[in-house]
Amino acid sequence: MSILAISDLHIDLRTSDGPRPIVGGIDLVLEKGRIHGLAGESGSGKTMTALAILGLLPDSMTATGSIALTREGSTTELLGAPRQVLAGIRGRRVAMVFQDPSTSLHPQISVGRQLTDHMRHHLKVGKQDARARAIQLLERVSVPDPAGALKKFPHQFSGGQRQRIAIAVALACDPDVLLADEPTTALDVTVQAGVLQLLRGLVDDIGLSVLLVTHDLGVMSAVADEVTVMRAGVIVESAPRHQLFTAPQHEYTRSLLAALPGSTLEESPDVLVQELLGAPTGAAPSPATADAEGDE
């Protein structure tokens, strides 16, 4: 059952030289209780897509198309929705987790307050109830000593724990959809393993739906159910996870997989160097590329 449906989404950046397309018409469906991975390199438009869902695009960007959130039969159009509607959606129905754990939490507000303020605003619960719920949430995300953690501040936790707390804050009001933008990229691999386990657990246990935006194909392979690959603002391939990795259809997908160090397509360092120095998939290396999408 579809819970979030993106249709014909276009995002343009207003520049002095006219509008510059960032996302050029994409369709994507997030099924309930599934993790949908949105993969791509930097400049592919994947992050902007996620931001568009919650109306978080900067003023210099315009978005057209449709982003429909469906729950309990009724559908809400998110794109271009009035501020009141979005305010009711953000944090309550659709929540977001960002890449950098050190900037996603307010450094000067206690963890407890960051959780409970949120809850009390959206859910209208009393102080005691909110506190109990906050402790539950911290237990759910495996933060040690939840009661004690409420009084602490973000800087007193490690990067991995901060990311877990950020997930707890995102889950505080029981959202239907969680948008995660590179949630584990800044974490150590052993810490990442724990956070991925947490995400998968949340989806399996409480039926959370997750749109996971990341460039890391290893992460995709570990937790995503469906994977959509973007390049330069358009979708090049979208398939169930197993199929995408074992039988990629599009040349770009194949090149992404081949570039992985751990990929099954073995290439010696010399071949890789030749690719780098020659003209690999994409533009030849040249200096003045103002809109360079990633590297080559």
Binding site: S42, L56, D59, E182
Partner: protein
């Protein structure tokens, strides 16, 4: 600490949204900057060509005393029968070059000391900063007055006094800027390649701190003019009969009824100071890489 792996090619939405709080000028800073530059240029030309354009000898006391503007003179005459207009023009050739000299010297002394302090650190930094603190602890104008009075009233001594009180702020600023860049990877790379301290400072650090220093300097020209005029006003600078705006205003105090005596030199000071302030503001906005006003990308200096 590991950096996040998203490269800078990804457009950062928060950076696009947050606009630097605009001060009073906002998008007017560019046209005002140009206007300021025009006025400043005009005054500089006046300063250079004053002897050629002044209708009367600024020191000659041969006109009717205390005549209001209009009767043959543009700005009237003073209590000794001198043409105010000519004296205002001549005053430009005194005030402007000296103020510019003052700022240039302050910047040089302050920047050199600040660079040494910031680059070498440790006891060198301590020593230079304590001296800077010491000088800065005194109220600027009063200290300048004391020094000028001690050295004897003359325009050159006034400049010297002003110099002594002006260099510390540049030293502070420069030190901060140098400290900010000192540990940058490219500076360290230079050292690993065998750069001497001088080479590091000259090649790697100086070009990258020039901007803020230049902005401060241009905004400071107005302060320099006021300081020198102020000292002259107090009798600690230009000696009579030299035509200097500050001392002209001071003399005007005695003849309050003759409004033209104080107004015109005062207006001269005002227009020059404001002109340089506008230039400074425009420069600051142009060099601010986050500013969307002038060129979005900023000047490369």
């Amino acid at each position: 600490m590991t950096l996040p792996t998203v490269t800078t090619d990804e457009i950062d939405p928060t950076r696009l949204r947050w606009r630097r709080p605009r001060l009073r000028l906002g998008r007017w800073s560019a046209p005002l900057g140009i206007a300021g530059a025009a006025v400043a240029l005009l005054w500089i030309l006046v300063a250079i060509f004053a002897p050629l354009i002044e209708p009367h000898d600024p020191l000659a006391q041969n006109l009717a005393i205390l005549q209001a503007p209009g009767h043959g003179t543009f700005m009237g005459t003073d209590e000794l029968g001198r043409d105010v207009f000519s004296r205002v023009l001549s005053g430009a050739s005194v005030t402007i070059p000296l103020s510019l000299l003052l700022v240039v010297m302050s910047v040089l002394i302050g920047a050199v000391l600040g660079s040494i302090a910031g680059f070498f650190g440790r006891w060198v930094d301590e020593l230079i900063m304590r001296i800077t603190d010491l000088v800065m602890a005194f109220p600027t104008v009063i200290l300048a007055m004391v020094i000028a009075a001690a050295l004897g009233a003359s325009l050159l001594n006034a400049v010297l006094a002003a110099l002594i009180v002006s260099w510390p702020s540049y030293a502070r600023l420069t030190r901060g800027l140098v400290l900010g860049l000192r540990q940058s990877n490219y500076v360290v790379s230079g050292q690993l390649l065998g750069f001497s301290a001088l080479k590091s400072l000259w090649r790697d650090i100086a070009p990258n701190i020039l901007g803020p220093i230049l902005v401060l300097a241009s905004l400071d020209i107005g302060t320099a003019i006021l300081l020198l005029s102020g000292l002259s006003f107090l009798g600690l600078g230009a000696k009579p009969p030299t035509a200097e705006w500050g001392s002209m205003v001071s003399d005007a105090v005695q003849n309050f009824d003759s409004w033209w005596l104080g107004l015109f030199p005062g207006l001269a000071i005002l227009t020059v100071v404001v002109a340089f302030n506008f230039i400074g503001d425009a420069l600051r906005d142009a060099l601010d890489p986050k500013s969307n006003t002038l060129r979005g990308g900023g000047l490369t200096l």
